[in-house]
Amino acid sequence: MSATELDALYQEIILDHYKNPHNKGLREPHEAEVHHVNPTCGDEVTLRVHLTGEPGAETVADVSYDSVGCSISQASASVLTDLVIGKPVDEALAIHESFLTLMQGRGNVEPDEDVLEDGIAFAGVAKFPARVKCALLSWMAWKDATARVIQEKAS
């Protein structure tokens, strides 16, 4: 890995979010709380989701979390919350999908800044297979928690 690739990984935006994470700290109210772990390295996140609105047309009213982990996993949690809070769940899920595609693209996917905003800073991560899991930790937790709330409401 060259110094340039290293810089592509550790973009300023990422280091900023790492040093000053948004929406960190667990909050009320929430309908689901999940705890996800990256078994390989031990990074952990506890994440809460609060949805409002009618079944089938929910909105992500709040996402809060507590976590221990590396710069990539911390920054991606921070970016996640920025991107999804306030969005209709459908739209948030589409953003999730788009982030996932970027991360699994091995560096060959062009990120859409309109959709991913600060998230495009993670484009460089996709070239580091070992770090993709770091970037996805909180995103997977969010999807899991959201699915649980929706399922619960439906039943």
């Binding site: 772990v37 390989t40 390295c41 070992a130 770090r131």
Partner: protein, 422 residues
Amino acid sequence: MEGLLPQLEVVRKDFPILERTLAGGMPLVYLDSANTSQKPQCVIDTMVDHLERHNANVARAMHQLGAEASEAFETGRDRVAAFIGAPSRDEVIFTKNASEALNLVANTFAWARGDLAVGEGDEVVITEMEHHSNIVPWQLLTQRTGATLRWFGLTDDGHLDLEGIDDLITERTKIVSLTWVSNMLGTVNPIAAITRKAHEVGAVVVVDASQAAPQLPIDLAAMDEAERPDVIAFTGHKVVGPTGIGVLWGRRTLMEQLPPFLGGGEMIETVTMERSTYAGLPHRFEAGTPPIVEAVGLGAAVEYLSDLGMEAVHAHEQAITAYALEGLATVPGLTVLGPLDATQRGGAISFEVDGVHPHDIAQVLDSRGVAVRAGHHCAKPAHARYGVQSSTRMSSYLYTTPSEIDALVEALEYTRSYFKLG
């Protein structure tokens, strides 16, 4: 001869050991491939390249070598998944051999609770033609849980006796475990029909594919779900791959319900001194450092087979087996154990010769460079069923030529004259 692999002589050049000569300058005639297969150069080279340039531990390592090793290892898994048409690559679990794969299932069933629990009144069904590795694990399971072990008998011509199937596979049956292709009789069993029947009563079906994977095209995803086994097991060293690696493919919903087998590094989610939680498939069943260079080698091996085409490999086996059955029929006093129709069987042919013990046959054959196996081939009950204590077995593979079969037949004639049998 029809059905042989195109360019067989070129294919043989891929296998360095086939150039070997033995004591007395005899060329090697290797007819023991059901025991273990020979390795093509590309498998050996791939392993060497890995060890010389990419060696590192997997999953845990974040550096470049670690990334390369992990990628190579997981590519091995992808290739194996493709080779058997696994519905999901995460359902492919690496074990140390087929025996461990079968034991993994039997051993975890002993600790299963709820729906999968095995206990008194439950039955496990196997067959009389199983390899010891698909008998002993189920003996241990049933002895330890109080369940009952039952089995399909065999017909005189070497097939499963399916007459009593309705009496054998019943509501009490929890597990049916059987071999796809017999390593002794060569018999190919009707896996789809038996699986369908077992699924009707809610039993789990485990298939020992140790002899099937080398010779039959397998496409799990293409099988009707009712007829698809829940688990299949096979072993790397019989599919031109290295020793030290086996494959267990297991239906996700089953494997996720079974309790852990070996505990340790890589199979955990989190560990405290008091308790642990476990990782998802496939890691849940892969405790400790996996067989890394072996998975890399196995990946190259199944690629090699796929490049030849498993249909072509199968056709080759059938052609050679037919030719061998014909040749063996010309040897006075020789009796083949198992089906005599090559289209209905695999490439392992066990036989007896009146008046000479299998050891002595194998020994004289060996003096002519012909390598076969003598003994019970880890199938004592099947031998007992036919009233023999041991047999001689020739087993061909994709690199076997008709002239090697000729050499076998000639060497058998020589054996008879050596022991002065009329």
